[in-house]
C-alpha cells in the first residue's frame, strides 16, 4: 500500500475514534463480538468436540476479559464453558473420592474432597463472573426484561442467568468461599422468565419447573409436584423436537438432588435411546454432546458409588444391576 493510502486509512481511523469517542479497545471488542456471533459461535455450536469447549472457555478468558465493557455479551458463553470445565474436574475428584471410599482409603478420600472443593470454588467464581458481565450489559434481572437486539443477545442472557444459578449452587456447596451473593439466585430465576423458552430448547421452563417441583416436594404437595413434572416434560419435548436434549441433564440433576436413583437411570436410558434414534440438530451439535457428556458423568458417579469403577466403555445407558438374562429366554429343560 502506498504511503498516501496508509495516511488516508490512519486519518479515517483517527477521525472515527474522535467522532465516536470509541477507543481502539472498544472497537476491537465490538468487532470480536460481531465476529464471534457471525463465525465462531456457529462453528462451535456445530462441532463435535466437547473438549474444545473447555479449552475455548479457559483460553479465551485472557484474551476477552481485558477488552472492556463491549465484550460483555460474549463473556457468559466463555465463562459457562470455563466454569463447566472446572466443574468437570471437581466431578472427577468426586469419582476419586468414591473410589477411595470403596476401598476404605481415608487419606485419598479426604485428599479428593479437598481438590473437589478447590475446583468447585473456581467454577463458582468463573460462572459468577459471567453473570456479572450479563448484569453490566443487560441490567440487573428481576426488574424489567431487557430488549434483546437479536437471538445472540438473548442466548448470552440465558447463559448468564444459567451460570448464576450454577454459581450459587456451587458456592453454597463449598461454604461460600467464592463470595457469590445468595440473592443472585432469585434474581437469575426472574431473569430466566425473560427468555423465550421454546426458542432455547425448553431450558428456561425446565429450570423453573424444577424449582417449583423442589418447593412442592418440601411442602408435600403431590398435586403441585405432578403439575411441575408435566411442565418439565413439556419443556423436554420442546428441546427434543429441535434435536437439543439439554433438558435431560436438568431432569437427571433434579433426580440426583432428590436421591432418586431409579429415576436418574430412566432419564439416562431415555437419553441414550433418543440420541441413537434421532441425530442432534447439526447446527447445535455441541449442546447435545455437552448434555451427553454431563449425563455420562452422572452415570460414572452412580457406577463408581456401586462398583468402584466408572461407566465401562461402550456401556453408557446400562447399569451394573441390569438384568443379564431376559425373561423371555428359554429354559434348557424345555429344549432337551
Amino acid at each position: 500500500m502506498g504511503i498516501k493510502n496508509w495516511v488516508s486509512v490512519m486519518t479515517a481511523a483517527t477521525l472515527a475514534v474522535s467522532i465516536t469517542g470509541c477507543s481502539v479497545r472498544d472497537m476491537a471488542a465490538s468487532g470480536m463480538v460481531s465476529f464471534g456471533n457471525k463465525y465462531m459461535s456457529p462453528w462451535f455450536m456445530a462441532s463435535n468436540d466437547t473438549d474444545i469447549m473447555c479449552a475455548m472457555g479457559e483460553g479465551m478468558a485472557a484474551m476477552t476479559y481485558p477488552m472492556g465493557p463491549n465484550i460483555d455479551p460474549m463473556i457468559p458463553m466463555v465463562t459457562l464453558a470455563s466454569g463447566m470445565c472446572a466443574d468437570e474436574k471437581a466431578k472427577q475428584e468426586e469419582l476419586r473420592f468414591l473410589r477411595a471410599m470403596h476401598k476404605d482409603d481415608v487419606t485419598t478420600a479426604q485428599d479428593a474432597r479437598t481438590m473437589q472443593k478447590r475446583w468447585t470454588a473456581l467454577s463458582a467464581e468463573r460462572q459468577y463472573f459471567g453473570y456479572q458481565a450479563a448484569v453490566r450489559y443487560f441490567g440487573e434481572p428481576g426488574k424489567e426484561c431487557p430488549d434483546f437486539a437479536d437471538d445472540n443477545e438473548e442466548m448470552a442472557y440465558l447463559f448468564g442467568m444459567f451460570g448464576a444459578l450454577q454459581a450459587v449452587q456451587m458456592d453454597l456447596a463449598v461454604g461460600g468461599v467464592a463470595g457469590v451473593p445468595l440473592d443472585v439466585m432469585p434474581k437469575a430465576l426472574e431473569g430466566l422468565k425473560c427468555v423465550n423458552s421454546d426458542k432455547f430448547w425448553g431450558l428456561p421452563d425446565a429450570i423453573l419447573a424444577v424449582v417449583d417441583i423442589s418447593k412442592s416436594n418440601l411442602d408435600g404437595d403431590e398435586d403441585a409436584v405432578k403439575l411441575g413434572k408435566a411442565r418439565l416434560q413439556k419443556a423436554a419435548r420442546a428441546g427434543e423436537e429441535e434435536g437439543v436434549r439439554m433438558v435431560h441433564l436438568v431432569e437427571a440433576a433434579m433426580y440426583v438432588t432428590q436421591g432418586d436413583e431409579a429415576a436418574v437411570k430412566e432419564v439416562i436410558r431415555k437419553h441414550v435411546e433418543m440420541i441413537e434414534e434421532t441425530p442432534p440438530n447439526p447446527d447445535l451439535n455441541l449442546l447435545d454432546k455437552m448434555t451427553t457428556r454431563g449425563l455420562r458423568l452422572i452415570s460414572d458417579k452412580l457406577w463408581t458409588a456401586h462398583t468402584g469403577q466408572r461407566t465401562p466403555f461402550g456401556k453408557f445407558g446400562t447399569f451394573w444391576d441390569d438384568q443379564v438374562i431376559s425373561d423371555d429366554s428359554m429354559d434348557i429343560e424345555d429344549l432337551l
Partner: protein, 341 residues
C-alpha cells in the same frame, strides 16, 4: 542346651502369634452402618457436602456409613426409630424425642452469643458428659451449629418483646411448639408451609418472621423489611442439627470421636453463617436498649420455665445453660434469683 533351644523356639512362636493377632486387629474392616441423612437442600447441596466429609472421617473411627438422603426431618426420625438406619441427623426439635437433654439446646435466648454456644458444645463433647448423651439405646454423637435465628420485623419501632404483641408471625403447621412459642410471645400465629413462609413476609401478609442471617439474601427479605423494618439484634435461638446413633450398633469409641469432630469443626461450620450476618446492612439491626434487654431476658426465661414445667424442656440442660450464661456474665439478674433455672 535342649531347654535353651526349646525356650528360644517358644519365644519365636509366641512372637509370631502376637504378630498375627495384632495384624488381624489392625486390618479389621470398618463396620457398615446405615445412616438416614437429612439434607434439606438435597443431594449435592451444602449439607450433603458436609456429610461426605463426616463419612470419610467416620472410616477412621471404625464405621463405614451408607447414607440415604431425606428432605423431611420427621421421616428421618421415624426411620431411625423403625430401625431402617442406625444413625440419623436431624434438627434439635426432632432430636428431643431421642434425648430431651440435648433437645433443649434450642430453648429461646438460652445462648445469646456463639461464644456461649461454643462453650456449651465443648462441655457436652467432653468424656465426662458422655452419660448425658445416652438415653436408652440412643446416643447423641454430634451437635452441629446451624446459625443464630433472628426476628425479622416490618416495624423498626419494636424495641422490646412486648412491642411484638398482636403482630402476625408465620408458624409451620408441622411444629406445634413454634405456634405455642409465638402465642407466648404475644403474637398472632399464621399457618404457613416451609416454602411460603418468607414469601408471606415479603408480601406483607405477616409482620414477623424468624430466620438465620443467610436467608436475608437468599429469600430477598429486604422486600419484607422495606420501608420501615429491621432485625432484632438479640438472636431468639441457636439453631442446631443433632446426630443420633443407636449405641449398640456403634463401634467402640466411635461416639466420643464423632462428638469431638463436630466441636473441632465449629468455626468452619459457622464461617458461612457469620459472613452472612456481616453482610446484612448495619442500619437494619435493631439493638435493644438496657431495659429492653432485661425485659427480653425475663420474658424468654418465663417461656423456658413454662416449657420445662410442661415437660418439653429438660431441667438439667436449662440449669447448665444458665450456669454458662452466669459464668460469662455474673451480673445477670437470673444468677442471683432464688428460682434460677
Amino acid at each position: 542346651m535342649k531347654t535353651r533351644i526349646m525356650n528360644h523356639i517358644s519365644k519365636i512362636v509366641a512372637g509370631l502369634g502376637a504378630g498375627l493377632i495384632l495384624s488381624s486387629a489392625q486390618a479389621a474392616a470398618p463396620v457398615p452402618i446405615k445412616m438416614c441423612a437429612f439434607m434439606f437442600m438435597g443431594e449435592g447441596g451444602p449439607e450433603h457436602q458436609a456429610l461426605l466429609d463426616y463419612q470419610a472421617a467416620a472410616l477412621n473411627w471404625g464405621a463405614k456409613l451408607e447414607m440415604k438422603s431425606y428432605v423431611n426431618d420427621k421421616i428421618v426420625a421415624e426411620e431411625l426409630k423403625s430401625g431402617t438406619c442406625d444413625i440419623a441427623n436431624m434438627p434439635s426439635l426432632q432430636a428431643r424425642a431421642f434425648n430431651k437433654f440435648t433437645g433443649t439446646l434450642d430453648a429461646p435466648a438460652s445462648m445469646p452469643t456463639y461464644a456461649h454456644l461454643e462453650t456449651v458444645l465443648q462441655t457436652l463433647a467432653k468424656p465426662s458428659a458422655a452419660k448425658y448423651m445416652r438415653n436408652g439405646d440412643y446416643e447423641i454423637i454430634g451437635i452441629q451449629p446451624a446459625g443464630a435465628v433472628f426476628i425479622f420485623t416490618n416495624d423498626k419501632t419494636v424495641k422490646n418483646i412486648s412491642d411484638l404483641a398482636g403482630k402476625k408471625m408465620a408458624v409451620l403447621d408441622t411444629m406445634p411448639e413454634m405456634r405455642q412459642l409465638v402465642v407466648d410471645l404475644g403474637m398472632t400465629p399464621v399457618s404457613s408451609t416451609l416454602t411460603n413462609i418468607f414469601q408471606k413476609f415479603n408480601n406483607k401478609a405477616i409482620d414477623i418472621t424468624g430466620a438465620p442471617a443467610f436467608v436475608y439474601d437468599m429469600m430477598e427479605l429486604h422486600k419484607g423489611l422495606e420501608p420501615n423494618g429491621g432485625i432484632l439484634e438479640n438472636p431468639v435461638m441457636q439453631g442446631n442439627t443433632q446426630f443420633v446413633g443407636r449405641t449398640s450398633k456403634l463401634p467402640e469409641g466411635f461416639a466420643q470421636k464423632s462428638r469431638e469432630y463436630f466441636v473441632k469443626n465449629f468455626d468452619q461450620t459457622l464461617k458461612f453463617v457469620r459472613e452472612a450476618e456481616e453482610k446484612i446492612p448495619k442500619d437494619l439491626w435493631i439493638p435493644l436498649g438496657e431495659q429492653a434487654q432485661k425485659d427480653y431476658r425475663v420474658q424468654t426465661r418465663q417461656i423456658r420455665i413454662s416449657f420445662r414445667d410442661d415437660n418439653i424442656y429438660d431441667a438439667k440442660m436449662l440449669t447448665l445453660l444458665r450456669k454458662i450464661r452466669c459464668k460469662k456474665d455474673a451480673t445477670l439478674a437470673e444468677c442471683t434469683s432464688p428460682d434460677a433455672e
